[in-house]
């Protein structure tokens, strides 16, 4: 190869990266939502403590800050509960963590504000981690959540939990009994932790759209692969049926549904053993600005009311047509969406006097 060709090739390569970045910025801005996670001693992902980073998308630019426990908060929270204070611990994924909202706008903060207005001073602790499913939430609750001595444990249930529970392989159902199947689930976390220590990488993850876009594409392929490789044959079949909407049995009886319900029931048992209340809030799925639904097998739960459910779907329908979800930012809640959910949970707690005991 002549020197001229080598030069042209090198220039072409560099230019391609630059032009692809330019393309994304102009034609298809990518939401930059880096996840600062690290392995926890109990084998799942946790937020990096004391970190500060930005989420920037075509819809918003918001700073995410975590405290020493990795919670989305500015102040350190001691394990001991102050006297006369009620505590609510929340477990969930990016919706619960409040992606798309400032720390004061998250639905957990909204809940705290609503309760405060109603004369109940409650402290809310956000233990949500982006990407967590119910399996990780259970482990988080057992290993950390209960140490904060909560009065209420709140779980934000999102439809992605159905797949996340299977993908993680942490628990399985053995003849309808929940069994721990794996000690840990840390997909790429060790590498991510190392990379995020590097300043240049942090800059890349927070600023380079081409990198974020490529990483997301690769990660969606990897997630699909894991979903197919992890579970047993029967589970995979049930999951394939559920994904195709071909579930031969009624809602709530597919394997992903049953696993999710078993995990929630176990969380409830653990919570009640501790003397606290357990509440599940459903995060509605968005189809468009006027159409919302939930994949939670709510009719099954209603038939045997073991779980205390808050379903904000009717409230969402009242706000039909308004901007409840960010439309260019992975459809997380807007401040309005957070407000609706915060109000729904607060009303439920007050109505059932869950903090009055």
């Amino acid at each position: 190869m002549s020197r001229r060709r080598i030069l042209r090739f090198t220039f072409g390569l560099v230019w391609s990266v630059f032009a692809a970045e330019l393309f994304l910025r102009v034609m298809h801005p990518v939401p930059m939502l880096p996840r600062y996670v690290q392995p926890t001693p109990y084998g799942i992902r946790g937020n990096m403590p004391e970190s500060e980073y930005w989420h920037s998308t075509p819809d918003y630019k918001i700073q995410i800050r975590t405290n020493a426990h990795g919670m989305r908060a500015d102040n350190p929270v001691p394990f001991e509960k102050p006297p006369t204070t009620k505590r609510i611990v929340m477990l969930g994924d990016s919706f619960g963590m409040g992606f798309g909202a400032t720390a004061e706008q998250t639905f957990l903060s909204q809940l705290e504000q609503n309760l405060s207005r109603a004369g109940i001073p409650a402290e809310t602790l956000n233990l949500c981690v982006s990407g967590h499913g119910n399996a990780e939430q259970l482990i988080e609750l057992e290993n950390r959540g209960l140490k904060f001595d909560p009065d209420i444990v709140l779980v934000a249930w999102h439809h992605s939990d159905l797949e996340d529970n299977i993908r993680s392989g942490l628990f399985k159902l053995d003849e309808d009994q929940l069994v721990r199947a794996s000690k840990s689930y840390l997909p790429g976390t060790t590498i991510a932790e190392r990379l995020f220590r590097n300043r240049a990488y942090r800059w890349l993850a927070g600023n380079c759209q081409l990198y974020t876009w490529s990483r997301e594409k690769a990660s969606s392929v990897a997630q699909q692969a894991m979903l197919n490789l992890r579970p047993t044959k029967a589970v995979r079949k049930s999951l394939q049926h559920a994904q195709k909407g071909q579930e031969e049995t009624k809602r709530g009886t597919s394997y992903p549904d049953r696993l999710s319900l078993a995990l929630l029931t176990e969380m409830k048992r653990v919570t009640e053993e501790h003397g606290a209340e357990f509440v599940v809030v459903i995060v509605p799925r968005r189809y468009n600005r006027v159409l919302f639904a939930t994949d939670f097998p709510i009719e099954v739960v209603e038939a045997s009311p073991e779980l205390d459910i808050v379903n904000p779907l009717p409230r969402f329908e009242k706000h039909s047509g308004e901007l409840i979800y960010w439309e260019q930012s992975h459809f997380h809640f807007t401040p309005l969406g957070n407000r609706i959910v915060g109000e729904a949970v607060a009303e439920h707690i007050l109505e059932h006097d869950l903090l009055g005991r």
Partner: protein, 569 residues
């Protein structure tokens, strides 16, 4: 398997590597292509592979019998074994018993459910076994009949073979594609005329993907052999690979035996840098058209059409459901978007098919040649779905007498050809109407001798182009509407209430955002007179065009697999 799925590049990568390794072994390459093609098709549904095998076997044997009075015993045994084994493997064996993981890699087999029970719950022999038995008996009978044919005269034998092929292929197509359509219409007619309709006339039939394409391809081959235009294929593997050639199996182009079959008979040329870059461009450009343009246009189209899709001609609520839309301009924009969608979807598929075939040393015919620059309906059909329009011209229009029987006969032939062309696209009245509309246009233009020549002044050219483009859009309304009620409502709105709304502006904005590059590029293609003007441009400009189309295809594509529209035909 879809070209725009993650499975296809992996599949093609493996096939292409093996194909290159077998460079000097023609037979092995053909065997590989046949297996790959069956895997490609079976990815959707293994059972329907048997229809391809059946169509292949019928046309292989009938075409051979046309030219030779006898088929050798060895060939008969080969054919018998291939068809019966296929019936067993594709129909009787339950592939759902094989557990698969990612990329359908087998992970286990439920051995007890691999074969169906001989009798079903009602005590009757199960359909799968019945098909195998019927196939075996059919083959034995066919052997007896063809054995006696040796004593027939040449003309009688050739004609009988042609009829066997035509009837078998049309029966397959008719049953799987048109049975329910005719049964439903017969029931409706019976209800109207006699006040009673036969019950349970329709069947639960799945339309096999690509059946219209491969049956037309095999029929054209047999007709060409009958006409003496093609030497019949002696090698079953070569012929089967030609019928099932995966790049063009499910959505065309409908290749003629005289063009594609000889390419299976001789060693394919080595992949040169030019062929590689030309094939690569076709694949990239095809993916861009499908993923970044067609699928995005689909959103605009569906947003406008879907509220009307549930209307039924027989629905008594028809008159009280959706009123005539007030913003007729939105409907015009949606039709424009559909024109882009269907062009990009279908021509995108063809481009990818041509590109992948080119990499393997095959030349597949051009199927679209800038159809929207046409200034007359006859020009449009010379540029749109060329493989189908030339098929209809050569085997139907000319067969009916073409333009040799005077004016009225010509109009009749044009109308019949276009009506059947419309029906080819789908078993629904809107497709018949679409065919009739284009047939009518062809007749009208011919009756008034409206043609636009290259030497016409530009205002006339512009006028003719505008008129034809509007006619094309109206044709697409007939094509896209799911029922006649929608057509009536839309026509009223488009012509009597041509007003804009907020939605009109949103749709125009979206349309221009996703289709601007395609429109600019098509203008460049027209101005340069080349379908691929890029290869003459400076390397740096070429690089940027490549970056644009690749990034568009992968970044602008909607989430999830989007099927090709023509898979339904």
């Amino acid at each position: 398997m879809l070209f725009n799925s993650i499975e296809f590049p992996i599949f093609f990568g493996v096939v292409f590597t093996l194909y290159c390794m077998m460079r000097s072994r023609l037979l092995w390459q053909n065997v590989l292509l046949l297996i790959a093609s069956y895997i490609f098709y079976g990815w959707w549904d293994v059972r329907f592979l048997f229809l391809i095998v059946l169509s292949t076997a019928i046309d292989y044997s009938t075409s051979l019998m046309m030219v030779r009075s006898k088929i050798s015993v060895a060939k008969r045994i080969q054919l018998f074994a291939f068809v019966t084994l296929s019936a067993f493997a594709f129909v009787v064996v339950r592939w759902s018993a094989v557990q698969t993981g990612w990329f359908r890699v087998p992970t286990g087999v439920e051995w007890q459910s691999v074969l169906p029970d001989a009798y079903d719950s009602t005590g009757r022999i199960s359909v799968e076994w019945l098909i195998l038995i019927a196939t075996t008996i059919g083959l034995l009978l066919f052997n007896v009949i063809t054995g006696t044919m040796a004593r027939w005269s040449d003309v009688a034998r050739r004609r009988t073979c042609l009829w066997i092929s035509m009837i078998s292929n049309l029966a397959l197509l008719g049953f799987f594609k048109y049975f329910n359509f005719f049964a439903e219409n017969f029931a409706e007619l019976s209800q109207t005329l006699l006040g009673t309709a036969p019950s349970q006339l329709t069947l639960d039939i799945v339309l096999p993907v690509g059946i219209s394409f491969y049956t037309f391809q095999t029929m054209s081959y047999t007709i060409d052999v009958f006409r003496g235009e093609v030497e019949p294929s002696d090698d079953f593997i070569e012929f089967a690979a030609y019928v099932a050639f995966f790049p063009q199996l499910v959505a065309g182009p409908i290749e003629r035996g005289k063009h594609l079959l000889p390419q299976f008979r001789k060693p394919r040329p080595r992949l040169t840098l030019d062929a590689f870059s030309e094939g690569g461009w076709l694949i990239g450009w095809g993916l861009f058209k499908k993923m970044a343009v067609a699928d995005r246009m689909g959103f605009i189209v569906n947003e406008t059409f879907s509220p009307f899709d549930q209307l039924s001609n027989a629905n008594p609520e028809m008159l009280v459901t959706p009123a005539v839309p007030d913003d007729g301009l939105t409907l015009w924009v949606a039709l424009f978007a559909f024109a882009i969608q269907i062009y990009c979807d279908f021509s995108g598929y063809t481009d990818i098919a041509r590109g992948t075939a080119k990499w393997m040393g095959f030349d597949i015919m051009l199927n679209f040649n800038l159809p929207y620059i046409s200034r007359s309906p006859s020009e449009f059909w010379r540029r749109w779905h060329i493989s189908l329009s030339t098929w209809l011209r050569d085997y139907l229009y000319i067969g009916l007498g073409g333009n040799r029987g005077g004016r009225l006969a010509t109009y009749r032939n044009l109308m019949l050809t276009m009506l059947l062309g419309g029906l080819w696209h789908g078993a629904a009245w809107n497709f018949v109407l679409w065919g009739a509309f284009h047939g009518g246009l062809l007749c009208l233009y011919r009756a008034f001798s409206v043609e636009s020549g290259a030497k016409d002044p530009w205002p006339r050219k512009l006028m003719m182009w505008s008129a034809m483009f509007v006619f094309t859009l109206l044709g697409w309304l007939l094509f896209r509407a799911r029922n006649l009620a929608t057509i009536a409502l839309f026509l009223q709105s488009m012509f009597l209430r041509p007003f804009a709304s907020e939605q009109t502006l949103l749709d125009i904005r979206q349309l221009l955002f996703y289709a601007w590059f395609l429109i600019v590029f098509q203008v460049l293609q027209v101005v340069s007179g080349k379908l691929n003007p890029v290869k003459d441009w400076h390397w740096f400009v070429q690089l940027n065009v490549w970056i644009f189309i690749i990034m568009s295809a992968f970044a602008l594509a909607p989430i999830g697999k989007q099927e090709f529209i023509y898979f339904a035909f």
